[in-house]
């Protein structure tokens, strides 16, 4: 038993916290237990729990490594910062650990931040109870063009019962019904991800689209913004850049043509000089040839 506790302490040292879920076999409704272990004093620990359906949950805070090892501590619970009445208890030290547990019945209205707080040592452990949150959301709108199509996607770690898509008009949400509009929308659902394809886009299709993951307890929502542009929008900078290129190329070629005639005049003059010198050299050479032949003739004689 002691070696097991040492093992837990070792794991703590590496991890900082350890959670396990064990369905408690005591009563008929299955109670899930969540345990967080906190080491030392003046600690604030936050643990996120994804709640998919209404359930009874037992939250436990285990404290270890408290200096001076007082014989008992006082602890109480808060929900969303407000103290829960009659939740204060005295926790005795058991085998160098202090354990504070409480069972909660969680329905949709009960989701929130539950904290166990130990007064004397300012240690707090917060359990964030919420439906799974859809992460990697784009904070910038997705841009597409009229007549084109676009794919909006949402993804979760857990699999909901189903997915629903809504289009938000000001404050209202309108459900997107594929059977009513098969030409404009296509919805693809595959377990923990969903894709909405909007076809034949028009400017009115711009706006906020909400994907909703339906769980027993409460739906989890995320929104994506869509902006539909006409083709004229990117055409304007494109034409501006093409004009700039044409202007620059024309200027460069003109500059070259302006400098060319000057160079031509100079080089023509030089060439005449060059060809004169070359012809002079060749005349001298031919004289040398004549001399040689003359000498040979004389030698022969």
């Amino acid at each position: 038993m002691a070696s097991f506790r040492h093992l837990i302490l070792l794991l703590l040292y590496c991890d900082g916290m350890k959670t396990e879920t064990t369905p408690s076999p005591q009563s008929d409704p299955v109670i899930t237990t969540r345990k967080v272990v906190s080491k030392g004093q003046n600690q604030v620990t936050i643990e996120e729990l994804a709640i998919l359906k209404p359930q009874t949950i037992e939250l436990s805070c285990y404290l270890t490594d408290i200096p001076n090892n007082p014989p008992y501590l006082t602890g109480y619970w808060t929900k969303d910062g407000k103290g829960i009445v009659n939740s204060e208890e005295t926790v005795n030290r058991t085998n160098e650990q202090y354990i504070l547990k409480k069972t909660f019945d969680i329905l949709a209205k009960d989701l929130g931040n539950y904290s166990c707080i130990f007064k004397e040592i300012q240690t707090q452990v917060t359990f964030v109870l919420d439906v799974p949150v859809i992460k990697d959301k784009r904070d910038k709108p997705i841009v597409s063009y009229t007549g084109d199509s676009v794919v909006l996607a949402c993804k979760l770690k857990q699999t909901p019962n189903t997915w629903n898509w809504y289009k938000a008009n000001n404050t209202e949400k309108g459900l997107i019904n594929v059977t009513a509009n098969p030409l404009n929308y296509k919805i693809f659902i595959h377990g923990n991800e969903t894709k909405l394809t909007v076809l034949n886009l028009t400017e009115e299709d711009s706006g906020k689209y909400i994907c909703s993951a339906e769980f027993d307890i409460k739906p989890s929502e995320s929104y994506i913004e869509l902006k539909v542009l006409s083709y004229i929008e990117p055409l304007k900078p494109f034409i501006a850049i093409v004009l700039e290129v044409i202007v620059l190329v024309t200027l460069i070629f003109l500059w070259e043509k302006c400098n060319k005639p000057q160079n031509d005049n100079i080089s023509a003059g030089e060439n005449e000089l060059c060809s004169e010198q070359i012809s002079k050299l060749t005349r001298d050479d031919s004289n040398g040839v004549e001399n040689n032949t003359a000498r040979q003739r004389k030698l022969e004689h």
Partner: protein, 487 residues
């Protein structure tokens, strides 16, 4: 500098003047060629969603573009040999601009493969090769600086294109961005128009002057190389009209090729995996991206700096050693990387790696110019890029495989470092022998020239003696005549 490489240009390169405008044009072309395929990755996620395809299918776009850019080297060389740099670059700019505009209307992923990958890749190949070739035509003394400045285009454009692409994507989506990028790439045409062909004034014998339209003016897009090689028979002769295949017998060129193939296996993978390695160490995304920015910043300044250093009179004659030193330094950086702890270790690594990467890139084409000379450089670089195509494309996936097998990045870094060390040491040793052989050949040539020279001197002396005798004889005859004529 090896004598054989530089002496057969036939003219003195300007080394300045309009040359700097040409360097600017090359800066733009090279920048687009290297940075554009890498910067397209920002659009991949949305295109992946739009076409409902996997990540590897979209990654093919970048790979096809890079592969075509390297494989298009020889085609580019042939065109440059015939038409000169300027028309090829302008054509390349038009090709890649039109390709991106067409891609913005794409309906299938195949459409993107063809437009962006194949046509775009060829367009970029037509930008890369001619830009390098024209530098070798305009510069000789200051060539390393010119090369360093032009190659600095790659990091500068990467740093500019990445945020620009993000901005365009946020405002116009991927289709609009491709359309606008097509316009931006047309600036390559502007870069091409700066690459004025060199007009040299050669001293032609008079009979030939009448054959030319402009008296005495020749474009140095010469076909002399092809004429020299026409002694070979059959298809080798036909091929060598377009591209100089005799390069494969050039000792220095072969050394360069083997060394480079070894080096490129480990060259690009560390860049690709820098950010993932940082994230694997537990560093957040923004700090990991910041590492890449540090790397690009150091790279930006390392390239012209290396050009300046390589131009000094101590290094220029032995520039091959400098290149092999840069490769070895690169390899050492990678081997040390896994040993450096934490984020500050990675920052130090990014700084040193940026320096090493910039040094190798700045010298990569300068040493090739040094080995084969400006006349054959165009063909040389074309053949080199198509051979380097293999290791460049295989390197990152093989490294990725190493990471997947060992679940640890340090083996990948060791492997890359070892490949680069191997390549660098090979280059160093082989160039040592090459310099010695070149010296011997140079001395032999001098001895031959001396012999020919002394033979010519002897012939000239004999001629002088004959002339003197003739003068004496003619004066004697005149004297005899005059005495005869006097009554």
């Amino acid at each position: 500098m090896p004598r054989s490489a530089s002496s057969n240009l036939g003219y003195t390169p300007p080394d300045g003047g309009w040359g700097w405008a040409v360097v600017f044009g090359s800066f733009i072309s090279i920048g687009f060629s290297y940075a554009f395929p890498k910067s397209l990755t920002i659009y991949f996620k949305e295109i992946q969603e739009y076409f409902s395809i996997s990540y590897s299918e979209i990654a093919w776009v970048s790979s096809i573009m890079l592969a075509t850019m390297y494989a298009g080297g020889p085609v580019s060389s042939i065109l440059v040999n015939r038409y000169g740099s300027r028309p090829v670059v302008i054509a390349g700019g038009l090709m890649v601009g039109v390709a991106m505009v067409m891609a913005s209307f794409g309906t299938t992923i195949l459409h993107l493969y063809l437009c962006v990958g194949v046509i775009g890749g060829f367009g970029l190949a037509f930008n890369l090769q001619p830009s390098l070739t024209i530098i070798s035509k305009y510069f000789l003394v200051k060539r390393p600086i010119a090369n360093g400045l032009a190659m600095a285009g790659s990091p500068v454009f990467l740093s500019t294109l990445a945020p620009l692409n993000q901005f365009l994507f946020d405002h116009f989506g991927w289709r609009g961005s491709f359309l606008i990028l097509g316009g931006v790439l047309l600036n390559c045409c502007m870069a091409g128009s700066l690459m004025r062909p060199i007009k040299i004034k050669t001293k032609l014998p008079p009979r030939k002057a009448t054959d030319e339209d402009d008296t005495g003016k020749l474009d140095v897009t010469s076909q002399r190389a092809g004429q020299d090689e026409s002694k070979q028979s059959g298809c080798a002769a036909k091929l060598s009209q377009f591209i100089d295949v005799s390069l494969f017998k050039h000792r220095g060129y072969l050394i360069y090729l083997v060394g480079n193939v070894l080096m490129f296996f480990g060259f690009f993978a560390p860049v690709v995996f820098l950010a993932p390695y940082a994230k694997h160490q537990g560093i957040d995304e923004y700090s990991a991206a910041f590492l890449l920015s540090i790397f690009a910043l150091v790279d930006m300044f390392a390239r012209p700096g290396t050009g300046l250093v390589a131009n000094t009179r101590w290094i220029r004659p032995k520039i091959q050693y400098f290149f092999s030193f840069a490769v070895i330094y690169n390899g050492l950086c990678h081997i040390m990387c896994p040993l450096l702890p934490g984020y500050s270790g990675l920052v130090v690594y990014a700084v040193f790696f940026g320096l090493a990467f910039g040094m190798v890139c700045a010298l990569l084409f300068e040493v090739l110019m040094d080995l084969v000379g400006a006349q054959r450089f165009s063909s040389a670089v074309g053949l080199a890029t198509i051979i380097e195509c293999g290791p460049v494309l295989l390197g990152p996936p093989i490294s990725g495989l190493l990471v997947d097998i060992f679940m640890d990045y340090k083996y990948m870094y060791f492997a890359c470092g070892m490949m680069m060390l191997l390549g660098g040491i090979f280059l160093f040793i082989m160039n040592y022998y090459n310099y010695r052989w070149l010296e011997k050949e140079g001395k032999q040539r001098k001895v031959d020239e001396l012999e020919i020279g002394s033979a010519k001197e002897l012939a000239a002396n004999e001629e002088d003696k004959d002339n003197e005798e003739e003068i004496k004889r003619s004066t004697a005859e005149e004297a005899a005549d005059s005495t005869c004529k006097e009554p």
